[in-house]
Amino acid sequence: MLDDSMIRRNSLTRRRGHFLGVFLKEIKAFTKFALGNIFSREFMTVLIPLLIVWEAVPRLGLVPEALVPAPSVVAVAFWDVFTNLNMAEHIGASMLRFGAGLLLAAAVALPLGVLMGWNSFIRSHTLPLFQLLAPVPPPAWVPITIILLGIGLPMQVFLIFLGAFYPILFNTYQGIKETDPRYLASARVFGASEFTLLTKVYIWNALGSVVMGLKIGIATGLVMMVISEMYGGRSGIGFLLLEAKEFFQIDRMVVCMMLLGFIGWFLIEVMKYVESKLALWRIGR
């Protein structure tokens, strides 16, 4: 006998099941999106010979085997790092820091960029400050950050924040500023308030720039993550990289490099996928 509670439960599970189905479908689409480019037949004809050369050259002694490990050696080292060195923990620690820094940068830079792009009064008072500070390369901030914040998580999150902040800020500000005035005019005539304009017109129009800013911010944030891990704290991929270098374990160093490369590639692919989903309205004519 179907009673109300059963019906409600059924619809809830159906909705949850529906969400799960959608989620899995998205994962599948994303995997195809990200890997399709790399595992294409064309690239295989380049990749496989390169791998063969890389394997052969150290083995044949053409380059010192100690300094250039062959892929097979790297693979063994990868397994070693994975099982013996808590690779998952280090990756987790790195990602946590990176996530914190990136989130902080986005939380500050996105609203600030929107405000700066929207209003020229705000812009004229704040933009010059950022134009002065931005050219300082983020690694140059390391010494003063260590002095002010010591070594440890706050320093690392701050450095990552610095790396990701400026690209997000400038791209958001540019995107908002360049909103087509036609859209603004037509919304204003209908009576849209500035707030409605911001949320319904400016931001959507600037979405492409915002995503690009995020992509660049991810890349520079990752650089700062590696640098910050070399200066303090004893966890993370950057730390593993430094340790491997200090203790002459070049195969492990290459493993760390590849891990970092993979993480960077993965994050950018996620952003590209999100962008392609959001830009649906651009496809067509």
Partner: protein, 291 residues
């Protein structure tokens, strides 16, 4: 067609890599090159360098860079910090390297407090002290602390590894650090003050006080293909180690720019041949007999 192109590209890349990696081996050069870092602990080297010599010093930023120079053959000998040197000996690139001797420095458990903090041993009760957990140092310190009447339970320890201690002190995360005297000398250079020192530490079984090498700061690694030059270097170092302390200190001062006054509170390192325990540790075949 595409495959031919990719093979050609791969071939060109291989040639480029080849060309880049073939440096001239240091052994083919005339002069015997010795890698080092700017550390007061290498006092005998600086003194030996002041006299007539048959080698050339090559400076590096860190001792692992000296290690890489050894692997690549850019230097024939070099001083590498102990733990790294041991890894280097075991690694693939260090096969032809041998240990010719060590730089020894007395161990000395030391408590360093941050500059500006005017503290006596009796005031330590509330201070945050950085220690490496489960180290022989802590045990020695606690014995002495009891003698000075400190309440062990009230001591506020913060565990961290040695490399993190000085930066933590600088940043104010801790008020005092418990280190061996080699690190203490470095801390004093930065302006901090030594509160307490105990020179009677014996080698232990743990990582911070390892047997056989607990007083070894640097290993002299040499290329096994040129043992005669290595022996000449080692001789000169041994002679320099027997010089009066003031000469060694002034050699440090002129080589690294450290003021002599700062060095007077500390002993100097000496170059010694390998002990039996050390030979056993590294393996007989990796050790060069010099005297």
């Amino acid at each position: 067609m595409g495959q031919v192109v990719s093979l050609v590209v791969a071939g060109v890349l291989a040639l480029a890599v080849l060309a880049g990696c073939q440096g001239i081996d240091a052994s083919q050069r005339g002069v015997y090159r010795v890698g080092y870092v700017d550390d007061p602990l290498l006092a005998p080297l600086f003194l030996a360098d002041e006299g007539s010599r048959s080698w050339e010093l090559v400076r590096s930023g860190s001792s692992s860079d000296v290690g890489y120079a050894l692997i690549a053959g850019e230097v024939n000998a070099g001083f590498v910090e102990t733990s790294r040197a041991r890894k280097l000996l075991d690694s693939q690139g260090g096969e032809r390297l041998m240990v010719a001797g060590t730089m020894q420095f007395p161990y000395g458990a030391t408590l360093v407090v941050r500059e500006g903090l005017d503290m006596r041993l009796g005031d330590l009760g509330s201070a945050r002290i950085a220690v490496q957990a489960q180290c022989a140092l802590v045990r020695h310190f606690e014995v002495d602390a009891l003698r000075f009447g400190l309440d062990l339970a009230s001591l506020n320890y913060k565990n961290m590894p040695f490399p993190d201690m000085l930066p933590a002190l600088e940043a104010g995360l801790v008020d005092a650090i418990l280190v061996k005297s080699a690190h203490a000398a470095l801390a004093e250079q930065q302006g901090h003050s030594i509160l307490y020192q105990n020179w009677d530490v014996e080698e232990g079984q743990d990582e911070c006080c390892p047997p056989a090498v607990f007083q070894t700061e640097y290993l002299l690694l040499v290329d096994s293909r040129d043992t005669s030059s290595a022996s000449r270097l080692a001789e000169a170092l041994l002679n320099a180690s027997e010089a009066p302390v003031e000469e060694l200190r002034s050699a440090i001062a002129s080589a690294t720019g450290t003021p002599v006054g700062l060095l007077e509170n500390h002993p100097v390192a000496v170059f010694t041949p390998l002990t039996d325990a050390q030979r056993e540790l590294f393996g007989e075949d990796r050790c060069l007999t010099i005297r």
